[in-house]
Amino acid sequence: MLRFLYLWLVRLHPRRFQKRFGDEMLSIFDEAQGRVGAAKLLGDGAVSLVRQWTLRPEFSEEPLAAAGARRVHDSTPTFCIVDDSLPCRRALMNGTALSLVVFSVICFAMIYDQNHVVLKPLFSVAFDFSASSLPEENSIQPRVVARRQFEDQSPPQPGSARKGPATQPVPAPKVPANAPGARPVAPKRGASGMNPAHTSKQESRERQLIVPPTNPLRHGPTGYAGTWIRVEIPRRVLRSYVGTYVADAQHGLKLSVRFESDVLRLEVPGEEIRTLLPVSETGFLVKDASDCRVEFSKNQDGTVQLDFYDNDRHLTARRQAGGS
């Protein structure tokens, strides 16, 4: 059996090497004593195989015979092509190995991207969707007038849209509740108290708010269609959600929201701690989890309510008195 394997190892060597030394290698194998010696020769044969194909390409082919032009008596010139246009074997093998490595890396990256939510921070643009605010003629730029309004606390003036490249980032617009432009998220729950209606200019500069044209949070537990953009929310707003929330419908289950390392963390008893990534001032996605989100809102009695959506599960909890 070992000899059969060694025979095939020798036959896999380049033809020239096999022709010159194949018989001798088999002769040495036959003289090897014991299975240990034969096994060592098998290993040596495998190494030799790899070496001959990768490091000795110059010996794998027979040397070209001297190209001499055939003498043709009618003095017609003849030509011999000496150069082989095909790539050498080493280049082909190295190219194959490199292609396999690149292909594997791309496949791994695609699989990793499918299994992990990757949120990329983008610059913010405020959109004005009110019917009275029609874009200027021939204007294809976003309504930067909305941003100006937020900064100057003054209503937009007709024709006051600033012309400029549409891709400029908008630094920190404020979002008053009565602004004709961007709508605050989840206003129907009376969340005006939670909206930073009157923030300082410094905070407004720090903040970037993106208001999507529709609020997918209202579409239901699984309504996170489309691409979400992570937003920067002031720490003051994030800290306003910290506290212990009690889910009465789940036998008084207590959920804990903490503010750590500039992010909110949600702890459900018996489950792993979840990191909340803001997509609006009241809506949060759960990091590294698909179809899992949290929404904060303010009830009419002033208590803060937390809605936790995890696939088909929905928890509603109210913050206990004494929460910050």
Partner: protein, 117 residues
């Protein structure tokens, strides 16, 4: 040492041992392997793959000649090899180079050794 011999220096350990084994006369492949193991007291062993890889390169550089098999030999598959004149010259040059290295090393080690009173 002639300049044309110097261009082959330094020899690889396997090539050096093959030259050393063939310096005593013509040998076939398996005998070269055994002679190398004997001369190095078992510290350096050549496998057939390494042996014939080196032989292939040394034959192509005309430092070793292939004599073919000998009639009357036990195994007709055996082929004998010997050093060519170029191979002997290169081997001599390599030994001279190594002697110089050993001499230099010994003198430096003697200097570095602290003198005992």
């Amino acid at each position: 040492m002639k300049p044309q011999d110097a261009k082959f220096a330094p020899l690889s350990p396997a090539a050096l041992h093959i030259f050393l084994a063939l310096s005593g006369g013509e040998l076939h492949g398996y005998a070269i392997m055994q002679e190398v193991a004997r001369q190095s007291e078992g510290r350096f062993k050549l496998g057939p793959g390494t042996l014939y890889d080196n032989l292939q390169r040394l034959i192509d550089k005309a430092m070793i000649e292939e004599l073919g098999h000998r009639p009357g030999d036990d195994d007709p598959r055996r082929r004998y090899y010997r050093l060519s004149s170029l191979g002997r010259a290169v081997f001599s040059a390599e030994i001279a180079r190594l002697e110089g290295v050993v001499r230099e090393a010994k003198s430096r080690l003697r200097l570095a050794k602290p003198r005992t009173a």
